[in-house]
């Protein structure tokens, strides 16, 4: 073929793939595809104000004894045990944290177990002991449960679904829609530890890591913060989809803009190195023991001080602020002085080729 036949003007395209006909892995990644699934499949069927608020937990008002915070979370992590935690600790902390993020004191959990035929009893026992230990740390009780066993090959060892209920501190209306212009954004510590620790534990990355998952119950941290200030407007734990997705949710819910300062965001060197190698961005990596708080600027110093006195808030820092510009979007001021948009995670996070 000669050079002249090269069609350099040819516009080429591929038909779009919407993945509306079947579930693909991206629907479970905590990003925009998951949101679309909720919008299309769940909200229209179940619609009610508590669900539509779109927070980590639902605030309900069953009677005269104050408001309840209710949440549920399904856990399918592999491997079941990873540095810093396991599926049991994850299942307790995930729900405790979601319940706490409305400014509530988590009280009771329930747990549903889906067990695969052939699961070693010893594995189950280790998981249960870990759940109890996490529940004690959080100060909650696991008061009901259910067990189902499925055939070999129909589950990945074991899956756990937990639900939790807590009492919302009176007078609080914490939620994603409550962010206000001029508020500052506090992050309780480094990002990406859980996601990278679990990825490294799968042994597929070809490198060893000393990194541990940050999985932890944050309810005591939340309580300390609430003791310090009444001006905490949003609390959210940035799990799947990472800090970027969580802040995008808050920007949309509050219809305000968020400006992040890249240099202020703590990232462990191991997390950064793994992300560099794999082409990931720490902003999109899951955390299981971190929270984001949107608080009144005048109280930020006091709240930070209170956080620094707790086990899971020692590294808390201010990472950004809320503005009325670029509503519904998150911007990042880069280390070299430019600004870019930080979008929500789209579908599944995929390693880049090079």
């Amino acid at each position: 073929m000669s050079e002249e036949t090269v069609n350099m003007e040819g516009a080429v395209c591929a038909p779009p793939l919407s993945h509306t006909d079947q579930i693909v892995m991206g629907h479970g990644a905590g990003g925009r595809m998951g949101h679309q699934l909720i919008q299309k499949a769940f909200l229209p069927a179940f619609q009610n104000p508590a669900l539509s608020a779109g927070d980590d937990a639902a605030r309900v008002n069953p009677g005269s004894n104050g408001q309840l915070s209710i949440s549920t979370d399904a856990h399918v992590v592999w491997p079941l045990f990873f540095p810093g935690g396991d599926i049991g600790r994850l299942a307790v902390c995930g729900t405790v944290n979601d319940v706490a993020m409305l400014g509530a004191r988590p009280l009771y959990l329930t747990a549903g177990f889906i067990l695969e035929e052939g699961l070693p009893m010893e594995t189950l026992q280790r998981v249960v002991v870990s759940m109890q230990s996490a529940a004690m740390e959080a100060g909650v009780q696991i008061v009901a449960g259910d067990t189902k066993v499925v055939q070999k090959g129909k589950a990945d060892g074991l899956y756990i679904t937990t639900a939790g209920v807590g009492l919302v501190r009176s007078g609080l209306t914490i939620g994603g829609a409550q962010a206000r212009e001029g508020d500052v954004i506090i992050l309780s510590g480094s990002i990406g530890d859980h996601g990278i620790a679990v990825l490294a534990a799968r042994g597929e990355l070809g490198f060893q890591s000393s990194l541990k998952s940050d999985v932890a119950p944050l309810n005591h941290l939340v309580a300390r913060m609430l003791d310090t200030s009444r001006n905490i407007h949003v609390l959210r734990d940035p799990t799947r989809g990472g800090l970027a997705t969580t802040l995008n949710e808050i920007a949309v819910q509050s219809n305000l803009g968020i400006v992040l300062n890249e240099e202020a965001i703590p990232v462990h060197p191991e997390v950064n190195a793994a992300c560099e190698m794999l082409g990931f961005d720490p902003l999109y990596i899951a955390n299981e023991g971190k929270l984001v708080a949107v608080v009144a600027r005048e109280d930020a110093g006091r709240i930070l001080e209170a956080m620094h006195g707790t086990r899971y808030g020692e590294e808390a820092v201010i990472v950004g602020e809320v503005t009325s510009e670029t509503r519904g979007r998150v911007l990042l001021k880069t280390a070299i002085g430019s600004t870019r948009v930080v979008d929500m995670l789209a579908g599944e996070m995929l390693p880049r080729i090079c």
């Binding site: 395209c13 779009p16 892995m25 002085g337």
Partner: protein, 369 residues
């Protein structure tokens, strides 16, 4: 991080940008050839900091974006077979073929796995003797050494159940095609540092001479990129036609000779279709006949699969640097990273995807104005 943070130092980057500002006297159009550089430029907002005289255009250097439709269709046909474990770099799972993508195949029960290295796929073949393991060997020169090593390793191990589906492309023929186009606007090139780490840059002086275009071997960190731009601008301003190495900590003129030897043992040059551009003669690599037994196209008899790409988006012009992503009416509307219409939106290294993810504010403002 050692050896990285130094190259993201804001003061150093700003210093080089100041130097570019002092050096430039007129407008210049410079193409970064590599998708990794496009990603870094947009992620760090480097283009915002440059003087307005410098226009960066994004080249066809994203291997995921330029992999042709019919090869994706072949991959999908192979991956759907019950006896196959289909291994790929993560990015490729999202690339739409004529009707489906690898995600859909996976959802339908196909065994599609993301691996980080083709040698992991060889290990899978060893561990699963009753399965056929296929690796989707795409990429520029950078990924060729591990891909050919996987074949040599499988040969050494005597594996009969490992093969690769090859869609390798090379940078120099792409530059040649871009510069040969009557519509070309590119006056200088940032050469892809990782490609040159493997291949050296001895292939480029003749191209530079032939088309009278200066080039600079460029790295991937912000400081590397602005250094590459400064080097190119200096060459342009001085009217010098040469290939400079602005990435000497990783690249030598001759490159990695053992890697080049391994590549030429396993691969040979061939015509290759580029999604969005068309066929560029002798622009890719395929397996030598001696390695036919590792050729997935032959093993699974998918050579006859062809696909016509329909002219719905402007990815072709974007890949050639003739248009910017937000020149496209579909950008950010019908075409998003979740539902890519074209090659450049498909990969996180694609120009449209990089713009969509990091630059939507700029895009929206320019659309409103």
């Amino acid at each position: 991080m050692k050896y990285v943070t130094e190259y993201r130092d804001a003061a150093l980057v700003k210093g080089v940008i100041e130097e570019i500002r002092r050096t430039v006297t007129r407008t210049w159009t410079i193409m970064e050839i590599c998708g990794g550089q496009t990603h870094a430029i947009v992620r760090h907002g480097i283009d915002q900091l440059l003087p307005k005289e410098i226009e960066l255009v994004h080249g066809p250097g994203c291997p995921v974006c330029v992999t042709p439709l019919e090869l994706i269709d072949k991959a999908l046909a192979i991956a759907a077979r019950p006896e196959v474990i289909f291994c790929s770099y993560g990015d490729m799972l999202r690339v739409p073929g004529s009707a489906r993508d690898l995600f859909s195949i996976k959802a339908q029960g196909g065994d599609v796995r993301v691996v980080y290295s083709p040698l992991d796929a060889v290990n899978l073949a060893q561990a699963n003797p009753d399965k056929q393991v296929v690796f989707f060997a795409i990429g520029f020169e950078t990924t060729a050494p591990p891909n050919v090593m996987s074949v040599l390793q499988a040969q050494r191990l005597g594996l009969k159940n490992y093969s690769i589906l090859v869609s390798h492309v090379c940078v120099p023929p792409a530059i040649q095609a871009i510069l040969s186009s009557p519509a070309n606007r590119v006056q200088g090139f940032l050469l892809a540092g990782h490609v040159c780490a493997v291949m050296g840059y001895w292939e480029y002086p003749s191209l530079s001479e032939k088309f009278r275009v200066p080039m600079a071997v460029t790295g991937f960190e912000p400081l590397d990129i602005v250094q590459g731009i400064l080097t190119t601008v200096r060459l342009l301003e001085d009217g010098r036609v040469e290939v400079a190495n602005a990435y000497p900590r990783a690249v030598t003129l001759e490159g990695n000779r053992p890697a080049q030897a391994a590549i030429s043992k396993v691969f040979m040059a061939c015509d290759r279709k580029w999604r969005g551009i068309g066929t560029i003669p002798m622009s890719g690599w395929c397996l030598r006949p001696a390695f036919d037994e590792f050729n997935a196209e032959k093993r699974f008899e998918v050579e006859s699969i062809t696909a016509d790409e329909s002219p719905l988006c402007i990815a072709g012009q974007i890949l050639q640097g003739l248009k910017k992503p937000h020149d496209c009416t579909a950008f950010g509307k019908e075409c998003t990273t979740e539902h890519p219409l074209g090659a450049t939106m498909v990969s996180s290294e694609g120009a449209c995807a990089a713009y969509y993810r990091y630059g939507r504010v700029e895009m929206n403002q320019s659309m409103q104005s």
